[in-house]
């Protein structure tokens, strides 16, 4: 019969795995795993540069690439968005820019982005943005999501004839695609992704993480 197995090398190996696991989580916590530098992409003068909240003179701009059907984007909009608006945008510290980035695997995303653009045509993009994200669970599995978006348009008091004509003509489909193409050119491949200063962060951020990156961008000025 074989003698007792020496477990010491195994315990050492297990210890190495444990240390690697702790180190990986520590690295993720510090936010170094995802962020990467991004080079500016030329945008033609006539192209639409997204929906903006905040002052033109704000020292830092945050660009968000988002998909209305993305759960992480909704999570961010609902939980972190209010803090961002009240504590960063309203105080003049940050200018927020929303860019469309509908993902191909999300079947209702194109209609959602069109609905927001058509509300934007009547100056109500951000209100529709909130309606769509806050009610994501209600339309995400709907086979006819346009009905829901029309209800939101009505609730916002939009001119429904104009809104419906806009939706029927898919008036802003090309612009939405252009926004996405610009994101792809910058290296965006998931949502939500944020560009803060010259850094692309392809993940939902907590408010505290966002503030740290804003402070970093402020220091870089």
């Amino acid at each position: 019969m074989a003698g007792p197995v020496n477990l010491k090398p195994f315990y050492v190996g297990l210890g190495v795995v444990a240390v690697a696991g702790i180190a990986a989580i520590w690295w993720a916590k510090e936010g170094g795993s995802e962020a990467r530098a991004v080079d500016p992409v030329p945008v033609s003068a006539g192209s639409f540069a997204g929906y903006v909240l905040g002052s033109d003179s704000a020292p830092v701009e945050i660009v968000e690439y988002a998909d209305f059907e993305c759960g992480g984007c909704a999570y961010f909009a609902i939980l972190t968005g209010p803090d961002v608006k009240n504590r960063l945008v309203s105080t003049g510290r940050v200018r927020w820019r929303f860019r469309d980035f509908p993902l191909p695997q999300h079947r209702n995303a194109p209609a959602a982005h069109l609905a927001a653009a058509c509300a934007g045509e009547q100056g109500r993009f951000w209100e529709m943005h909130d309606h769509i994200f806050f009610n994501q669970g209600a339309w995400v599995s709907d086979n006819r999501p346009a009905r829901r978006f029309r209800d939101y348009a009505r609730a916002l008091g939009l001119d429904l004839d104009q809104y419906e004509a806009c939706m029927d003509q898919q008036r802003y489909a090309a612009r939405i695609q252009a926004s996405k193409d610009e994101g792809v050119a910058l290296g965006v491949n998931s949502t939500p992704s944020f560009i803060i200063g010259d850094i692309l962060i392809p993940a939902a951020l907590s408010y505290d993480s966002l503030v740290k990156l804003v402070e970093r961008a402020e220091r870089a000025k």
């Binding site: 297990l14 993720a28 992480g72 984007c73 998931s190 392809p202 993940a203 951020l205 993480s209």
Partner: protein, 141 residues
Amino acid sequence: MVIATLSLIGFFVALYLLLWKVGVLGSLACGTGGCEMVQTSKYAEFFGLPVALYGMLGYLALLVVSLLGLQPRWVMHRWPTLGLTVLAALGVAFTAYLTYLEAAVIHAWCQWCLVSAGIIVAILVAAVVGLRALGHTPSVQ
């Protein structure tokens, strides 16, 4: 040894997802955004607690039992391997349910959840192999 190592890796995967869920980590390394979608869905909680917490505790239990089973006084006993098989089978069943939700209900894939699914299936296979091996050798009940 294989089960202990896999359990430890699975523990860290579950811990990573749990820390993101409770807001300690600001971002998930997840290329498609599917992780966030799955982790923010209502199915990411079970009886009011994050699913990742159950995963973490499950892997911790597997790690403890597997380490106990390696001790000289219990190495020839059947109960640690039997316990590992039962725990892993429960884990695979729960994982199968969660994977079904990803595919058919949430319509998004969380890569880290799939890594965990692979780990728990590998643990079950290793446990069953171990159980069969014990069945062919004299053991202490």
